[in-house]
């Protein structure tokens, strides 16, 4: 009896031996690298190896429920999601060796949503659906890979749904992404302007609300009254309880339609310092959204923070608010707010603080000879600041008849220096490259800025290109914006007529390649200081920032933010909607990854760094990051084509 079992064992070893090349391949890729040998052998034995010539379809939504699981062994597979909107070309992305598809369709017995096509001659390992399900039962690691909510969507990683799901932190409350209509919880509590204060207060007490909307007989909102107003407008001035509500309400409430996003309400509240927004449809009040409804989990309120900034009397008071901003941002990241929203809020608060600083500092000096405009450059100019960014700023002024630019500059420089120092105190470190308004080269008249920019455009040496990449993203922070708009306009025309400089910028931008290996993996640094890492900012974000800037300058687009530039390029049909969406998602994802890392490092008391070791990322993040880099490569190929590089 020992003979057959001996044979069996021998056959087993032999089989494991011959499958070695397959097992070795699988062990190099997730999730197979996590799986037990036994389960891996189960898989390997059931695989078929097939070949698809370039262009051949592998999966097709029209092919009925998905019947096979594919692991790419060699080659590249292009996935395309057909778009329902004919105007928008569907999303496309590429899969490389080691990657698998489809998963969701197999688990849910539905047809695939994606056409997978061999982008080059491709070998795939294939597993029948029955075996795929069996393996899911056998191997907890494989099952985990396939059924985690996010992982099951891996093959559609490019999609918006997924990008937002992936960014959702614990307790993921994407409250800012829903419409106000969806957010409304109850009928509005309202009264007429003639209603006596006593009656209105009784209604508020009965309905257990903190605010009441004053409406006319057509339910059109006229004003808002909150319990907060009770002290300052009723009790302290000693008003009688029989006086009408119209006398004590805050008139002209801010209103939004139900279709507006919660985020818009948050931005409006922060801008105006109101705690409530009336939701109005066709002139009729539908409900009230309070700040509390939007930021239910937050301890630090956006509105209070904006108000605190506006009312801070001196620099130390402003500096004390820096911690609150950090906390607000941390909460927003934890709540799964979108990157664009987070950066917009950082920008908004930074702008508030900067304006307040300029106001406070300017008053310490005698009035300047002419009004000046404060500009931001670099990431601040692009409205892409994360928590801690160095200052990049400058001043632009007009020279009146009979005065010299130099005299004005000398008068402005001390003010500028004071502002730069105050910004430093408030957590915006001085610029090591001295791109600051207190540098005489950054405190220029309208004419001088044009001359300076012209020198770079005509010169085009590496230093000029570097400066252009910082300064050309200028934006007004405080003061009259017209000189800045005029400068923007002038630059746009100058650039559109100067293909040589654009060509140089393009060539320069392409020197910075996304860190993707030829075969599959990331290219990481072998430098001893940061071994096995890549730079999320320089290698991840910069290709998008540079690419969007070049395309924007070439097509007379005056936006300075990367996302706005991409949107504007799509609107003017210089890129497709699909490209814009993919690039925006990729850029935002890298930005989010970077902010998450900074937040973690700060919590651990470390200095925030842009370097990340891809091996420390979750499998999902690694895949999305890789896809994001591939999108950067696509944007670069577009530039390569445009400038024939």
């Amino acid at each position: 009896m020992s003979e057959p079992s001996h044979n069996h064992a021998e056959a087993h070893d032999r089989q494991a031996g011959v499958l070695l090349p397959v097992l070795e391949f699988l062990r190099r890729h997730a999730p197979f690298d996590q799986m037990e040998s036994e389960h891996l052998e189960f898989l390997a034995k059931r695989l078929k190896l097939t070949f698809y010539a370039r262009g051949e379809k592998i999966t097709d939504p029209k092919g009925g429920p998905a019947s096979r699981f594919y692991i790419i062994k060699q080659g590249r597979v292009r996935g395309e999601t057909p778009s329902e909107d004919e105007q928008i070309s569907g999303n496309a992305w590429e899969l490389v060796p080691g990657e698998c598809f489809p998963i969701g369709a197999l688990l849910s017995r539905r047809p695939v949503r994606t056409v997978h096509r061999a982008a080059e001659d491709t070998f795939c390992f294939e597993l029948e659906r029955e075996d795929f399900l069996q393996l899911n039962k056998l191997s907890p690691e494989f099952n985990d890979f396939c059924t985690r909510r996010l992982a099951s969507l891996l093959d559609q990683v490019h999609r918006q749904v997924q990008a937002s799901a992936a960014t959702t932190g614990p307790g993921g409350d994407t409250s800012l992404n829903i419409t106000l209509g969806e957010r409304l919880r109850r009928e509005p509590v309202s009264c007429l302007p003639t209603t006596p204060i006593r009656e209105a207060l009784e209604t508020m007490e009965r309905e257990n609300v903190g605010s009441i909307v004053i409406v006319d007989e057509h339910m059109h909102p006229l004003g808002v009254f909150t319990l907060h107003d009770l002290l300052s407008r009723v009790a302290l001035p000693g008003r009688g309880m029989d006086e009408p509500m119209g006398e004590v309400m805050s008139p002209e409430p801010i209103t939004l339609p139900p279709s507006a996003f919660a985020f818009e309400a948050a931005m409006l509240m922060a801008n105006h310092g109101f705690h409530h927004v009336c939701v109005v449809e066709r002139g009729r009040l539908k409900g009230v959204i309070s700040e509390r409804d939007l930021f239910s989990l937050q301890r630090v309120g956006l509105v209070n923070l904006s108000r605190a900034i506006a009312h801070a009397d001196d620099i130390p008071a402003l500096a004390a608010l820096g911690g609150d901003i950090q906390q607000l941002i941390t909460q927003m990241i934890a709540q799964g707010a979108q990157v664009a929203q987070i950066t917009q809020i950082i920008t908004l608060l930074n702008d508030h603080i900067t304006r307040r600083i300029i106001d406070i500092c300017t008053r310490e000096f005698p009035p300047p000879p002419v009004p000046f405009t404060w500009m931001a450059f670099g990431s601040e100019g692009r409205q892409e600041q994360t928590l801690k960014t160095d200052q990049d700023n400058g001043i632009i002024f007009e020279v009146p008849e009979g005065k010299s630019a130099e005299d004005i500059r000398q008068a402005l420089l001390p003010i500028a220096r004071r502002i730069n120092e105050a910004l430093d105190q408030c957590g915006y470190p001085l610029c090591p490259g001295n791109i600051m308004a207190s540098n005489p080269e950054c405190c220029l008249s309208t004419t001088e800025w044009r001359e300076r920019f012209s020198r770079w455009v005509e010169g085009g040496n590496p230093e000029h290109l570097l400066k252009a990449s910082i300064f050309f993203d200028f934006r007004t922070i405080e003061g009259d914006s017209r000189p800045v708009e005029a400068l923007r306009h002038w630059l746009t025309s100058k650039m559109a007529g100067n293909s040589r400089f654009l060509h140089l910028m393009a060539r320069n931008a392409l020197l910075n390649r996304p860190p993707l290996g030829l075969v599959r993996d990331f290219v990481v640094s072998d430098d001893a200081k940061h071994p096995n890492t890549l730079d999320l900012k320089l290698q991840g974000l910069t290709p998008f920032v540079d690419g969007a800037r070049i395309l924007a300058l070439a097509h007379r687009i005056e936006e300075t933010s990367t996302l706005e530039r991409l949107n504007a390029l799509a609107r003017s049909q210089h890129i497709t909607q699909g490209e814009a969406q993919s690039w925006i998602q990729a850029f935002s994802y890298i930005q989010l990854l970077r902010m998450r890392q900074h937040r973690r490092q700060q919590a651990a008391g470390e200095t925030p760094s842009n370097r990340v070791n891809p091996d420390t990322l979750s499998e999902l993040d690694r895949r999305i990051l890789k896809e994001a880099f591939r999108q950067a490569r696509k944007l670069q190929s577009r530039i390569t084509l445009d400038y024939q590089l």
Partner: protein, 236 residues
Amino acid sequence: MSFLSTLFGSRPRLDPGIEDRLARWRALPEPSARTSLDEARFVVIDVETTGLDLSRSELLSVGLVPVGPHGIELGGLDEIVLRREVTRIDKDNLVVHGISPTESAAGVDVHEALASVLEHIGKSWLVAFHADFDRIILGRTLRKQLGVKLRNPFLDLAMLLPALYSDGTAGLKGLDDWLGHFAIPCPVRHRASADALVTAELLLLALAEARRQNHTELRALDDLAQTQAKLHLMRH
């Protein structure tokens, strides 16, 4: 006894169990050249021998890879090492085939091994790179050891590939050249099963290209390979 039976060409004496298995193999239907490419089954083989000399080399192991209508069936992958007592170690060839004397000594009994090989290949079309070598060695060993005449048709990829891919492939000769040409990585060369596996990958490429060129039957591939072989002979 065995050397006498070889000398007189009489049939070797076999265990009844083996005889039964051979009978079952003989009874299998013969393959047809009219089979459509979409339904064809192949077994890709690769033999490792004691040397490169056709007349004297002995079979050490056979790598087998079944290829069905849906591709290479990895579960059917096998490598059968024949048991042999090695008296003299030929170091040069040890480098080529990598089968150590210990491995050979631990192999499967020769009759048992060859019966397994026959069960694996059935009456399928056999595919190999430089197929003459595999055909002659395997054929001779089967005849000598089991008295079986191997009549399975062979398809030689060394001939079929240049017939299908004529552009820029003139310089490609050995298996490594063709693997390099298609960028097919081969982690372990010169193990019968690993060689057979990469050869099978080349077969998949050839089948795809044949379909693209509108060939529909096995016969067409055979004709292509035969013509190429004649051309090859004329040139050399």
